[in-house]
Symmetry: C2
Subunit: 568 residues, 2 copies
Amino acid sequence: MFDILRINTVTEQVERTTENSKRFLLGGRTLSSYLVSEEVPAACEPFGRKNKLFFCNGVLSGTTVSSSNRLSIGGKSPLTGGIKESNAGGIVGLRMAQQGLRTIVLEDTPAPDAPWKIIVIGKDKVEFVDGSFLVGKGVYEKSDLLNEKFGDKAGCVTIGPAGENLLFASGIACSDPHGVCSRYAGRGGLGAVMGAKRIIAMVILNDGEVKAEYNDIDAFRSSSKRIITLLKENPVSSKFTKYGTAAMVDICQSLRVLPTRNFTHGTMDGAEKINAQTMYDTIKERGGEGLTQHACMNPCAIQCSNVYPDKDGKLLCSPIEYETMALMGSNLCLKNLDTVAQMNRLANDAGVDTLDCGAAIGVAMEAGLAEFGDDKAAIAMMEDIRNQTPLGRILGSGCKVAAQVLGVRHAPHVLGQAIPAYEPRGTKGMAMTYLSSPMGADHTFGFTLRDEDVPTTKEGKVALSKKFQVIGSRMDAMGVCNFVRYSVRNDMSPLLDLIKARYDVEISTVEFDDFVKDTLRREHKFNGEAGITANEHRFAETFYEITQPETGEVIDITDEECAQARTW
Amino acid sequence: MFDILRINTVTEQVERTTENSKRFLLGGRTLSSYLVSEEVPAACEPFGRKNKLFFCNGVLSGTTVSSSNRLSIGGKSPLTGGIKESNAGGIVGLRMAQQGLRTIVLEDTPAPDAPWKIIVIGKDKVEFVDGSFLVGKGVYEKSDLLNEKFGDKAGCVTIGPAGENLLFASGIACSDPHGVCSRYAGRGGLGAVMGAKRIIAMVILNDGEVKAEYNDIDAFRSSSKRIITLLKENPVSSKFTKYGTAAMVDICQSLRVLPTRNFTHGTMDGAEKINAQTMYDTIKERGGEGLTQHACMNPCAIQCSNVYPDKDGKLLCSPIEYETMALMGSNLCLKNLDTVAQMNRLANDAGVDTLDCGAAIGVAMEAGLAEFGDDKAAIAMMEDIRNQTPLGRILGSGCKVAAQVLGVRHAPHVLGQAIPAYEPRGTKGMAMTYLSSPMGADHTFGFTLRDEDVPTTKEGKVALSKKFQVIGSRMDAMGVCNFVRYSVRNDMSPLLDLIKARYDVEISTVEFDDFVKDTLRREHKFNGEAGITANEHRFAETFYEITQPETGEVIDITDEECAQARTW
């Protein structure tokens, strides 16, 4: 029995119904992409009346299984023009579970000048509350105001000024366990979809009383412990515990795929100034509120998050992740973690994705609006985004639009979404993944890099990317953190056993992967109907024409190979 | 024998060859769209190495037939992402003919920081000349500098700062008979394609000695006279002689299709302040350089152009056309012709299309960046475009991109090209034409308005639009001014007789229309291969959802009807 709460943003009518299928059981991206593909006309405008915004928790939400409370947010993306699922940690999925909810759907779209509303969901109630006191404020202040009004244990989602102004790079910020809206469903512009619906925040009160029931509590406990053991034993996830994702800086620098100077290079002199060890040492040295091991949701045995403090030990930004260190660091030739942290904080406050904005600033620097390596100029551009100046709006629209407006050909994106922190000419596996993702360039979609014997060759990379598309998508498919994948990539039974113990529903590995593949098929089909053609599953032509200096490589992947990697 | 001059912008190699087919005979859009569809890979990037820029004069270029010296410029459009033919008056087509040229092709694309060049074409020579002295200057100053260097009888094409910076709304300015680059191939962003090729100007010297030869000079003279008689007798074109296209202001106001307030309304209180009579009276009253009857090319029996003087009688802008009066006037609720003229002048100097920028400013006003009706703010926005500020770059990217960046849903465009000056909900014939044009929204493509018994109904409009798609395209197909169509719409023989008399080539009406339809088929096919789907042959959803106040109409044209109007 999985409850779906439909909320009409025009009439304010609410309908709560119950579903019982395995898709609703699995939740996460399985459910989000199913609902988008069934209910949103593919050709509709992302900001129009026909788009919907879905919030889905996962199959283990509300339980004590490590890393299982991701929230999947889905809809049609203004950034890519296709289907989007973007997920975040935090406590919102848990609060939904405590209200007995698997899905919340925001439907219809009011007039552009309709009053801003907050939707408040509590035990047996859904209310529309005046949201005007939040308008124009940054996410940090919004977060404080929401806490004041609804308590710091409420699960909130909110948007920044960027989302209010419908910028394509706008994300949705979700409450973390400390009551700060800092966990971002960042990619794809879903914050702007929420903004178009004139919903400035949605609050799930902490008065839910629905508790997880278990078919076999002993089996559940034992499988749950097994997950923790697997996570702690795994060399990748255990390394993330100490260093977080920042561990990737050195790896990518040595593999020559660290995005540098608007994705023209794959190494940066001085990369060690922004690497994991520097971050670790800085946090330890400054002390105060700084933390190197920090959980975005409870419980979590990985705790890859961090709290980066300023020189006085006060929280500057939490977390800084590798992707941001690359896109807002090396990609701009910036070599100062304080700068990256400050930019990250501004991005979080503006409510924008750090990758898409970092890439856009790289494009702006290539256009000559500032010098690469100019910390002050880079921070000023982030302030422009925060303050919604014309330049800030250009940059907050992501790197594709920024490149269009600023006249730059070397635009690092696929389907309008910025390439993440792995230079694609140097890793053809990641290139294949970027090209074939239905969500636009996305590293989590099929992370091949650790498994590429020769990253620079495209040989075998269709198969490799597809293998990891399944491995990565499995986690999204059930609302479990992507980093759990390292521990279950060869054997999903620890997770499937948990489902069995909780619900008494048997799902075999094969059946589960069928859901995963069905989701991919649905997503690509939606995109085709939305008008996305094979032409868009390409990088900018410059990636095919200009060799990456460090590897001597260009993109040599053909449309046919890319089509194979999208066929399920 | 029709000569084609291929110029490689990277190697500076030049090749001159000769063709003899009827497509090369006809020239104009027939040839331009043929060459684009044959030589440009549809999926390529408009600013990439594979796009080409074609300059084609028409079948009667170099002769004394009235209104027959249009220059068709073709390539893949950055604005629409599809095929583009944009044509202009002026003397360039004539100068090409005098050099014995039917077509000039600019091939390949140098690096973005390659030096700016001027291509100089003279008798037996093609030279690349340093163009750095023109960089960053407005088109008026460029025009003066080109005259100084190459003589005021040379036929020049140049771009403004907008084209240099690859803005999507950039046009290509062509010399008029007075040596001013004021005749714009404005639509589709071809100025930016030229900019990407780092060609800041192309000059056809006035030293060409090729004269038109005639198979039957007497027959030619008599048919040529017949054209003049037809033009003078025709009530539409003869009215244009006195008032220019400005005559449309009153007509559209009375039909309730005068674009007003970012295409939300179809009438404007005070429209008479910007109508043809006001313009006529102002020009007459101010005297000086002002002219109400003015030819963009010689010879021309229509002379629909004008010279609008400032209060001191000095040339402010030439010409002001109805489309500009609507998009930069009523659409912004501006009621002062001096303001419109000043904005038009700034657009010409920046090198941008007045329609696409007018529509973008309307979107910016809807976004709240200025009040509708604020003359100073509107002029300031045009100065932003001229000065390439961030806001200016947004606006100079056309209304689709501007709406994306500024978060506006009611974006008046089809395929990214701004809707011309006829509110589509009030004229379903024009709506059908906008929707089905391969070039993006374009009134010249199939001008139904004068022939719609009930403009507000869609009944019969597929057939009506298709009828006028052929009638309008016939003129483009041979490099003849669109306004000649009124005189030959029921009988093309006066023009076909001229071809016979000049070349001794027999082209029947049926054969000619087969070329016209083949061109349309090629253009749509190119767009399909470029990735343009049926989804893009739509207006913004708001045009379907919100009634136009004056007519109570919404767009009710279906995808199926639109597909019929694109099928040939």
